[in-house]
C-alpha cells in the first residue's frame, strides 16, 4: 500500500483505488470469472418447457387472486351498521388474500422466469472515474468565466447590497409563523393567554367542588374510604366548550385517595391540605405528562404506566423510582358546609412536566 497523498503543489490529482490489480498483491492472482454452469433449462428443452409452464401457472394463480379480491369486495358485499365483526374480518381477509395471490403470482412468476429461462451469464462493465481531471479543468474554466461575466468581483457594492437584501428577505418567512399560537389574538386578556404563565393556572380555585371523572358527581368525604381511589375533575369542566374542556382537563385531572393518617408524613405548611387522610394529587406525571393512573393500594405507590415513574403517597408523592424529577403537586382540599370535598385553592406549583420558565 502506497503512502497517502495529502494534496499540495506536486499532487497529480490521480485517484487511488483500493486493491487495484497488481500481480502478486494477494496470495493468488484474480482468476477471472468462473466458467458459466449451464442450468437444466439451458440444455434440456423439456426442463425449459416445464419452467415456462410453472411461470404461466403462477401468473394464472395471480388471476385467481384478483378474482378472489372481487369476491371479497362484491360478494361479501356492502358493510354497514348491521355487519358483524366476523363479516368484516372475512372481507378483510379475502381482500388481503386476493391481493397477495395477485401480487405474489406475478412477482414469483417473473422471478422464476428470469432465473430459469433468461440468460444467467454474469457480464462485466468497466467503471468510470466520478470526475476526470480534464473535466475538472473545463468546469473550473467555465465557472471562472461565468463569475467574470457577472462582474461581481469588480463591483462589491452589488454583492454587498444583494447579500444584505437576501438575509433580510428571509426574516418575514420566519416571522409569519408567529401566529402558530394565536390564542392571544382571540382573547381579551392577551397577556395572560400567551406565554408560559398559562401553565401555572388550572381550573381549580377556592371552593371548586371535586367531582368524579367523567360523570361529574360531587364527592362527599364520607364516600372516600381507606384504600379507595377516585379519578377527579373540577366541577364545571364538563360544561365547557369541548376544546376548552380538553385543554383544561389536561391540566386539572386529579387523583383522590384516602390513607390512614398515621401512615402519612405531612410537612408543616401542608397540614390543612388533607381531610382526615383524604389527599388529592395532580394526575399528570411530572416526567413527560402521562396520566399517573395506577394506584397500588397496599404500598401506597402511584405508578405512571408510560415510563414507570413511581411516587410515594405517604411522602407527599415524592419520586421513589423512575425518570420523574419531582413530586406530584398536591391539591389542597377541605370539606364544605354540605360535606362535599372542595379545593382550598389552585395548585401551588405548575402541574405536569418541568419546563424552562417553571422555576
Amino acid at each position: 500500500m502506497s503512502e497517502q497523498s495529502h494534496g499540495g503543489p506536486d499532487h497529480t490529482g490521480a485517484v487511488e483505488h483500493a486493491g487495484v490489480e497488481e500481480s502478486g498483491k494477494y496470495a493468488i492472482d484474480n482468476p477471472g470469472l468462473p466458467p458459466h454452469r449451464p442450468r437444466l433449462a439451458d440444455e434440456d428443452p423439456k426442463a425449459a418447457k416445464r419452467a415456462e409452464r410453472q411461470a404461466a401457472f403462477l401468473f394464472g394463480l395471480s388471476i385467481v387472486g384478483t378474482l378472489l379480491f372481487f369476491v371479497g369486495y362484491f360478494v361479501v358485499g356492502q358493510i354497514g351498521p348491521d355487519t358483524t365483526f366476523a363479516t368484516i374480518r372475512l372481507q378483510n381477509m379475502l381482500l388481503g388474500l386476493g391481493t397477495a395471490f395477485a401480487m405474489l403470482g406475478i412477482g414469483v412468476g417473473i422471478v422464476h422466469w428470469a432465473k430459469t429461462l433468461m440468460p444467467d451469464h454474469e457480464t462485466t462493465e468497466l467503471r468510470h472515474e466520478v470526475r476526470t481531471e480534464a473535466d475538472r479543468q473545463v468546469a473550473v474554466g467555465m465557472i471562472e468565466d461565468i463569475i467574470d461575466e457577472t462582474q461581481v468581483k469588480r463591483r462589491p457594492l452589488l454583492r454587498n447590497t444583494l447579500i444584505g437584501a437576501g438575509v433580510l428577505a428571509v426574516l418575514p418567512a420566519i416571522a409569519i409563523f408567529r401566529d402558530l399560537d394565536d390564542t392571544d389574538n382571540r382573547s381579551e386578556f392577551a397577556a395572560e393567554n400567551f406565554g408560559p404563565e398559562r401553565l401555572r393556572h388550572t381550573m381549580w380555585a377556592t371552593d371548586v367542588r371535586l367531582v368524579r371523572d367523567p360523570t361529574g358527581t360531587p364527592i362527599k368525604a364520607s364516600d372516600v374510604t381507606i384504600g379507595s381511589a377516585f379519578h377527579v375533575i373540577p366541577e364545571g369542566l364538563n360544561e365547557l366548550d369541548p376544546h376548552e374542556m380538553l385543554n383544561q382537563k389536561a391540566k386539572a385531572v386529579v387523583l383522590l385517595m384516602r390513607l390512614n393518617p398515621e401512615d402519612m408524613q405531612v410537612s408543616p405548611e401542608r397540614e390543612d391540605w388533607n381531610v382526615d387522610g383524604i389527599v388529592a394529587y395532580s394526575k399528570v406525571c411530572t416526567h413527560v405528562g402521562c396520566p399517573v393512573a395506577l394506584y397500588e393500594q397496599h404500598t401506597h405507590h402511584l405508578l405512571c404506566p408510560c415510563h414507570q415513574s413511581t411516587f410515594d403517597l405517604t411522602q407527599e408523592c415524592k419520586v421513589i423510582f423512575g425518570p420523574a424529577g419531582h413530586a406530584l403537586p398536591q391539591l389542597p382540599i377541605r370539606v364544605n358546609e354540605e360535606g362535599f370535598l372542595v379545593a382550598r385553592s389552585d395548585f401551588h406549583e405548575p402541574v405536569g412536566p418541568a419546563y424552562w420558565e417553571r422555576g
Binding site: I79, F194, P242, C290, G352, W356
Partner: protein, 562 residues
C-alpha cells in the same frame, strides 16, 4: 434540419410509430443505450434497499387512497358510524373518519393495515439496508454523500411514521403526543414556546392533527421522494459496489444486465414485497384504533407500545433515573432575573443517545477516513470479518440501540416473565452502559476467529466430511483444497497495518495526529493477516502438516498464534 428528413427512419408498425414519435421528441434511444444493458451486481443483501423503495411506493399508493376518506379535523362530532361500541360517543372528526375508513368503507380497513404494515417495514428495511452498507464498508469514498442521503432518509422515515401515527386522534397516539409535548417542553429557553406553536396554544388544542396531516401527506413524502431521487442518481453515478470474488476488481462491475434479467428480478420483487404486505394487512390486525376510544387526557392503557422505530427514544426516557436519592435531575438554576428549570431527566435521555447515534452515523465515513488515512476509492466491499474493529463498533451500536429499544417494553418484560419491573430497569441500565463494550469485544474476537478459520481453509483446505484411516490406524478427516475461484475470495483483502503518527509540514507531530495514531492502532493493531503467496506455496508442499496461523501483533513483531 429539413435536409435530414430524407434519411430519417420511418416506422412501419403502429407500435413502432408511437415509439418513434416518443423517441424523436423525448430522446429514448440514448436512454436505452445508456441503461438498457447497464450491469448491476447481484447479492441477496442488496435487496433491503429495494424493499425500502418498494414499501415506499406501496405507502404512496395506499396513503393516497386513505386521504380520499380521511378528514384531519379536530372539530367535535358524535360518532354515528357502524362500530356499535362507540356509537353516540363524542369524538373528533379525525377519529370518526378513521373509524369510518375501518368499518364503513369497503377495503378501507385493509388499506389502513397495508399502510401501517408497509410503514413499519419501510423503516425496518432502511435500517437493515444501512447496516449492510455499514458492515461492508460501502460508505467509503466515493459514496460518503450517498450515505448521508441515506441517513437523512432514515430520519425522514421516522418523521413520516411519527406524523402519521398520531393522525387518527385516538387515545393511544394522543398519549404519545402528550409525551412529545413533555419532551419538547424540556428544551431550555425555547421549548415551552415550541410546544405552544406546535399545538396552537396549550396541549392538546385543536390544531395539531391538521398540522401533522399536511406534514405527513405533503412535506415529508416530498422530501423523501427528493432524497430517493438523489440516492438513486448517485447509485447510477457511482455504479453499485460488489463483494470480493473471482473476476471482480476495483475497476469493473460484475453482474446481470438491467435488460432483461435485472429488471425482471427487481420488478418481480416489487410484486413479491407487495404480496407480503397484503398478507400482513389481510391477516394481522395493526393499530386497532377502535379499541382505544377518543383522546381524553385522563385515562391511559398500561402496557402501551409506540411503533417500533420510536421505541428506542421511549426506552431511553424510561432508563434515565429522574432522581438519585435526594438529588434530582430537575435542575432549578437561580439567575438574577429569577429561577429557570432545566429538566435534565428528560432532556438527556431524549437528546443524548439519539444525538450520539445519529452524529456517529452521519459522521462515520469521515471518522473512519480520518483514523485510517484511507482516502482511496473503494468499490469492492469488505467482508465484515475482514474489518473487525468497524464490525465491532457496528455491533456495539446495535446493542446500545436494542437495549434502549428493549427498555421501551420494560413493563411488558416484567409482567410477561413475572420479574420485578425495577430489576428489569436496573439490569437494562447496566446493559446500556456495559453492553456495547461487551458486544464490541466479543464481535471483534469472533471476526478474528472467522479470519483465522479462513486462513485454515486456505492453507489446509476445507473439511470434506470424509473420515479416513491411516495405515497406522489413526482417523483423520480428509481436507480438500479449494479451487482458485473460492480461494481468491478468502485471500483478496489487504493487510492493513497501523500508521504511526506523522509529522506535519513543520516537522512536528500535532496532538490531533497523535490521537489519530492511537485510534489507528486500536483499529488495526490486532489483525489476522491474509495468507501470503509464500505461505500458500509452503502449505501446498506438505499438504498434511499443520501450519500455525500467524496472527500479527504490534507491527508484526509478536504473534499471538492459536
Amino acid at each position: 434540419m429539413s435536409t435530414s428528413t430524407t434519411t430519417e427512419y420511418q416506422a412501419s408498425t403502429p407500435t413502432g410509430k408511437i415509439a418513434n414519435f416518443m423517441d424523436t421528441r423525448a430522446g429514448l434511444s440514448p436512454m436505452v443505450k445508456e441503461f438498457g444493458r447497464k450491469i448491476f451486481p447481484d447479492h441477496w443483501s442488496f435487496m433491503f434497499g429495494e424493499v425500502a423503495l418498494y414499501t415506499f411506493v406501496i405507502l404512496l399508493m395506499s396513503g393516497t387512497f386513505l386521504t380520499l376518506f380521511f378528514d384531519p379535523s379536530m372539530a367535535h362530532t358524535t360518532y354515528e358510524g357502524s362500530y356499535k361500541p362507540l356509537y353516540g360517543v363524542e369524538m373528533s372528526v379525525a377519529y370518526a373518519s378513521a373509524l369510518d375508513i375501518s368499518f364503513d368503507i369497503r377495503g378501507g380497513l385493509f388499506m389502513r393495515q397495508v399502510h401501517h404494515w408497509a410503514a413499519l417495514l419501510f423503516v425496518a428495511a432502511m435500517s437493515v439496508h444501512m447496516l449492510r452498507v455499514f458492515f461492508t464498508g460501502a460508505f467509503r469514498r466515493p459514496r460518503e454523500l450517498n450515505w448521508v442521503v441515506g441517513c437523512t432518509l432514515l430520519i425522514l422515515g421516522l418523521a413520516a411514521g411519527f406524523t402519521g401515527y398520531s393522525l387518527p386522534d385516538e387515545m393511544l397516539s394522543g398519549n404519545g403526543l402528550r409525551i412529545i409535548d413533555g419532551v419538547v417542553k424540556a428544551i431550555p429557553l425555547i421549548g415551552t414556546y415550541i410546544s405552544f406553536f406546535l399545538f396552537g396554544g396549550e396541549f392538546p388544542g385543536d390544531d395539531i392533527i391538521g398540522r401533522l396531516y399536511i406534514l405527513h401527506v405533503l412535506v415529508v413524502p416530498a422530501l423523501i421522494l427528493l432524497m430517493i431521487v438523489i440516492h438513486l442518481f448517485m447509485v447510477v453515478v457511482h455504479k453499485h459496489t460488489q463483494y470480493p470474488g473471482p473476476g471482480r476488481t476495483e475497476n469493473n462491475v460484475v453482474g446481470y444486465p438491467v435488460g432483461p434479467v435485472y429488471a425482471a428480478k427487481a420488478g418481480g420483487f416489487f410484486f413479491i414485497v407487495f404480496g407480503v404486505v397484503a398478507l400482513l394487512g389481510g391477516f394481522f390486525t395493526i393499530n386497532a384504533i377502535w379499541n382505544y376510544g377518543p383522546y381524553d387526557p385522563s385515562p391511559v392503557q398500561a402496557g402501551t407500545q409506540p411503533d417500533w422505530y420510536i421505541g428506542f427514544v421511549d426506552g431511553a426516557l424510561r432508563l434515565m433515573p429522574g432522581t438519585l436519592g435526594d438529588f434530582s435531575f430537575k435542575w432549578d438554576i437561580p439567575f438574577p432575573w429569577g429561577t429557570n428549570t432545566l429538566a435534565l431527566g428528560v432532556l438527556l435521555p431524549a437528546l443524548v443517545p439519539a444525538g450520539i447515534l445519529f452524529a456517529v452515523m452521519f459522521g462515520w465515513p469521515w471518522i473512519e477516513r480520518w483514523i485510517t488515512k484511507d482516502n482511496r476509492e473503494h468499490h469492492i466491499l469488505d467482508r465484515p470479518r475482514n474489518a473487525p474493529t468497524r464490525t465491532g463498533v457496528g455491533v456495539a451500536g446495535i446493542i446500545w440501540y436494542c437495549v434502549m429499544w428493549a427498555a421501551a417494553s420494560s413493563d411488558l418484560i416484567a409482567t410477561h416473565f413475572s420479574v420485578s419491573l425495577n430489576d428489569v430497569t436496573y439490569w437494562l441500565r447496566a446493559l446500556f452502559v456495559f453492553g456495547p463494550f461487551i458486544g464490541f469485544i466479543i464481535t471483534k474476537r469472533v471476526c478474528l476467529a472467522l479470519q483465522r478459520k479462513d486462513r485454515e481453509i486456505v492453507l489446509h483446505g476445507r473439511e470434506a466430511g470424509v473420515i479416513e484411516m491411516t495405515p497406522e490406524g489413526e482417523f483423520r478427516e480428509r481436507h480438500e483444497r479449494l479451487d482458485d475461484y473460492r480461494l481468491y475470495k478468502l485471500v483478496s483483502f489487504e493487510n492493513k497495518k497501523p500508521i504511526p503518527a506523522q509529522p506535519g509540514r513543520d516537522g512536528k507531530i500535532k496532538a490531533s495526529e497523535k490521537q489519530r495514531a492511537k485510534f489507528n492502532r486500536w483499529f488495526y493493531e490486532e489483525r489476522v493477516a491474509p495468507v501470503t503467496r509464500e505461505e500458500l506455496a509452503e502449505a501446498k508442499t506438505h499438504d498434511h502438516s499443520d501450519v500455525p496461523s500467524a496472527v500479527e501483533g504490534q507491527d508484526g513483531q509478536s504473534s499471538i498464534g492459536h
